[in-house]
């Protein structure tokens, strides 16, 4: 009964989403206040209905209702309660439901916070969001109903995929979706502006907090996935350029470009059409990511679902949404004018360079990710593009960007003279050179060719970000949250550059076959395999080893790597033993038993690995701080200037 209720709620939500799209877009087009008045109640109703559906599915999971196919496929009576809830998004159908729910939640937030915006504009924004929601709900109801019954009911469930039975991975998809779906708000704002034929600096001010917040969630989501890959997959790395990782990284790169481009649009009224294009691109890449992951077209650890009809549906939806938005763009963008000019060394110019580098990098990742699919579709010999491709290109594009970040932070709007910026640039660079090279030679020893460059740039970015806030504090000026947020995020970037340079240069790794009582030496460290014993968990058994880590012969910590055999799916999983000592990431993964009492193990020492995730956390925190700046909370209606209509501008331009 409850699952049917959930299914029914989902169908009603679909109808409401359709109403929201129709009355939102056409109500605004007709200027009909009564039509537009339908939109907010439709959003609220849709939120209640999709929440009901989610609740029904959670209920089915928690009460072991194995007559529901999705529950029977992704849960088990031995599965702990926490994972029974997280199993909701453990596979395709539930993930879509979560996607739809997050979209409705974002829309509800827009509905509540947009009362100060012009009615027709808010109506169009929610209409576009309703259209996206309609597409996703239709997809869920038509091809991926999570409430489908299984007759007769299964005696017990097939269990949640063991790789997903992990706290970090349980919250990884919701965070990632918060980011992906959050870009739909920026997309809707862009479409509404194009439908309205009006794009001014106030528009950028409205759009910025939504975009920055979505970007923060995406950063957290990506970092959680990376962290999980480090300790769960047993390979010991934080990024593999796996197609699904790329699928989340592309929207992040374009989203990063978008938040910077929006800053220039808000402050100076420039890059209007470029900002619109980026908003469309960021959401398109989010949809593409969903398509790539959910259609099972990729050779990837993540492709749990493989169903061509679903892939085709998402592809068709992608074409309608992206194609429609681009057509709208082609129609409206030529009428947009960016009045203000600027010098090649003004802040606008640096933001433009930033955008070019980020978008080119995203294009590079896109080529690498899609090339195997395109070769396959064109019946060419199968190819694969592995990490060497990215490892070669990524630094080439990123290192110049980091130099530009360190310089561009000091640039001022419009005027090109870096006047008092010049001293800061030179002082920062000099300090970074000293600190970076000292860190390299005295801290870690000579590394690879790029090591000193990465270390110096990382420190330079951190120092450069600090000049302005410190100067403001010294002059007893206010320090708005937007500036604090920007500073924290840029420090996060610097920390990330420093951490990645260090990890990439100084990681030592060894695979070996060792027996209890033996010691594996790795640089100054040694791993002593003390003992191994059998363990039993709620739905698995396995072995746990005790490994003492020694540094210069002194024991410093004990690791407990595990190897678990999950009963239901009969798969084996590695839980690496991890510890951090003196900023060194110690890693030991236990693999197969090799006979004669020996086990294959992989040991790694990764300096500063924790800082990679710290960096992502700082960036996300910075984004969250900037979003909550007082400026955005102030009544938007109070400072809406007489907005210039782009259509009027366009005809004015023609008249000249």
């Amino acid at each position: 009964m409850i699952p049917e209720l959930g299914h029914f709620a989902l169908i009603l939500a679909l109808v409401l989403a359709g109403a929201q799209a129709f009355f939102g877009i056409f109500g605004a087009a007709r200027g009909d206040a009564r039509w537009m008045a339908v939109v907010r109640p439709a959003v609220a109703g849709q939120f209640v209905l999709v929440s009901t559906a989610i609740g029904a599915l959670v209920y089915a999971f928690v009460t072991f209702d194995f007559s529901v196919l999705y529950v029977a496929s992704n849960s088990n009576s031995a599965l702990p309660t926490f994972y029974r809830v997280a199993a909701l998004w453990g596979a395709h159908e539930g993930s879509l439901l979560l996607w739809a729910w997050i979209l409705v939640a974002w829309t509800l937030a827009v509905a509540m916070l947009s009362r100060n915006l012009p009615a027709s504009f808010a109506s169009r924004v929610m209409g576009v969001l309703g259209f996206v929601s309609f597409g996703f709900l239709l997809f869920t109801v038509a091809t991926s109903n999570p409430f489908e019954r299984l007759m007769p009911a299964a005696a017990d469930g097939r269990d949640l995929n063991p790789v997903l039975q992990d706290p970090a991975l349980a919250i990884h998809p919701p965070m990632l979706y918060m980011g992906y779906v959050g870009f739909s708000v920026a997309f809707a704002f862009a479409c509404a502006a194009m439908l309205e034929g009006k794009l001014d600096q106030v528009w950028a001010k409205w759009t910025r907090p939504w975009t920055t917040m979505a970007w923060s969630f995406l950063s957290v989501g990506i970092a959680l996935g990376s962290w999980w890959a480090y300790y769960e997959l047993g390979w010991g790395g934080y990024w593999f350029w796996d197609p699904v990782e790329n699928a989340s990284f592309m929207p992040w790169l374009v989203g990063t470009a978008l938040i910077h481009s929006l800053a220039a649009t808000e402050k100076r009224g420039v890059f209007k059409s470029w900002t619109l294009l980026l908003a469309i691109l960021a959401f398109s890449l989010s949809l593409l990511g969903t398509f790539l992951v959910r259609s099972g077209v990729l050779t990837s650890v993540h492709s749990f679902a493989a169903d061509p009809t679903r892939g085709l549906f998402i592809l068709a939806f992608l074409i309608i949404v992206v194609g429609g938005a681009l057509a709208l763009y082609a129609w409206r963008a030529p009428q947009l004018k960016s009045p203000a000019g600027f010098e090649g060394t003004a802040r606008e110019a640096f933001l433009l360079y930033n955008n070019i580098f980020l978008v080119v990098t995203a294009a590079m990742v896109l080529v690498g990710t899609l090339a195997p699919l395109i070769a396959d579709a064109m019946k060419m010999p199968p190819i694969s593009v592995g990490s060497p491709f990215y490892d070669m290109l990524f630094p080439i594009f990123m290192l110049p960007l980091f130099v530009l970040v360190s310089i561009g932070i000091h640039a001022s709007w419009k005027r090109g003279q870096l006047a008092n910026g010049r001293n800061r640039i030179l002082a920062g660079l000099a300090a970074a050179l000293v600190l970076g090279l000292a860190l390299m030679f005295f801290g870690y020893g000579p590394g690879k060719a790029l090591t000193p460059i990465g270390m110096v740039l990382g420190i330079w970015i951190i120092l450069s970000s600090l000049f302005d806030p410190i100067d403001r504090l010294r002059r007893k000026l206010t320090l708005p949250r937007a500036i604090i947020g920007m500073t924290v995020a840029h420090i996060g970037l610097g920390v990330g550059v420093l951490a990645v340079s260090t990890v990439e240069s100084y990681t030592v790794e060894r695979d070996a076959a060792i027996a209890p009582g033996e010691t594996l030496a790795l640089g100054r460290y040694a791993f002593r395999f003390e003992s191994i014993k059998e363990i039993e968990g709620p739905n698995y058994d396995g072995v746990r080893a005790e490994v003492t880590v020694m540094r210069d012969g002194e024991p410093i910590t004990v690791l407990h790597p595990e190897r678990r055999n999950y009963w239901v799916q009969r798969s084996t999983l590695t839980e690496a033993g991890l510890a951090s000592r003196g900023s060194q990431g110690l890693f030991l993964a236990l693999s197969k038993e090799l006979g004669e009492g020996r086990w294959s193990v992989r040991a790694q020492i990764r300096p500063l690995i924790d800082w990679v995730w710290l960096a992502a956390g700082l960036m996300a925190l910075g984004g969250a701080l900037a979003t909550t700046d007082r400026r955005y909370r102030a009544r938007a209606a109070a400072n809406v200037p007489a907005s210039e209509s782009i259509v009027a501008q366009g005809s004015a331009a023609e008249a000249q």
């Binding site: 199968p382 694969s384 593009v385 491709f389 006979g595 004669e596 020996r598």
Partner: protein, 147 residues
């Protein structure tokens, strides 16, 4: 320079930069793309000598030879028409098993495929798409003696 010239310089330098980036991308792509070969193609001599490529097929039943107490392993990869011997030393993915699909990265040396990476996939049902297609083109014969 007039503002117009300045803008043109900016646009041209961006264009030049993006072209360089595209060229670098093409070069890197060409150097790093890996092709896939199945055992039949390797036996037919289609695989490039000395270059890294992907080999895929099924791990032949009863072919895995481990040296006890070490990480060394030898096995045969088959597409039910031909087989290729594979040598590897290192951590094997948890799902590596006889009779299961496998993808290995490595080079051909004296007729043996020396693998530097055996792909780790964490799904029981997983079959690499290339392997699936290769096996579709070469279905396992009803009578193994027939080939």
């Amino acid at each position: 320079m007039t503002p117009r010239q300045k803008r043109m310089t900016l646009v041209l330098s961006i264009l030049a930069g993006v072209s360089v980036a595209a060229w670098l991308g093409m070069q890197s792509f060409r150097a790093n793309v890996m092709f896939f070969f199945d055992p039949s193609q390797i036996v037919a001599g289609e695989a490039p000598a000395g270059e890294r490529f992907r080999l895929g097929g099924m791990v032949e039943k009863g072919s895995v030879v481990k040296t006890a107490g070490t990480l060394d392993i030898k096995f045969l990869v088959t597409d039910f028409k031909h087989t290729v011997a594979v040598k590897y030393s290192g951590i094997l993915p948890d799902l590596f098993r006889e009779g299961q699909g496998v993808v290995a990265h490595g080079r051909l040396q004296d007729g043996t495929f020396v693998a530097d990476e055996i792909l780790a996939k964490h799904d029981e049902k997983y079959m690499p798409p290339e392997v699936a297609r290769s096996l579709k083109d070469n279905p396992p014969p009803p009578e193994p003696a027939g080939t």
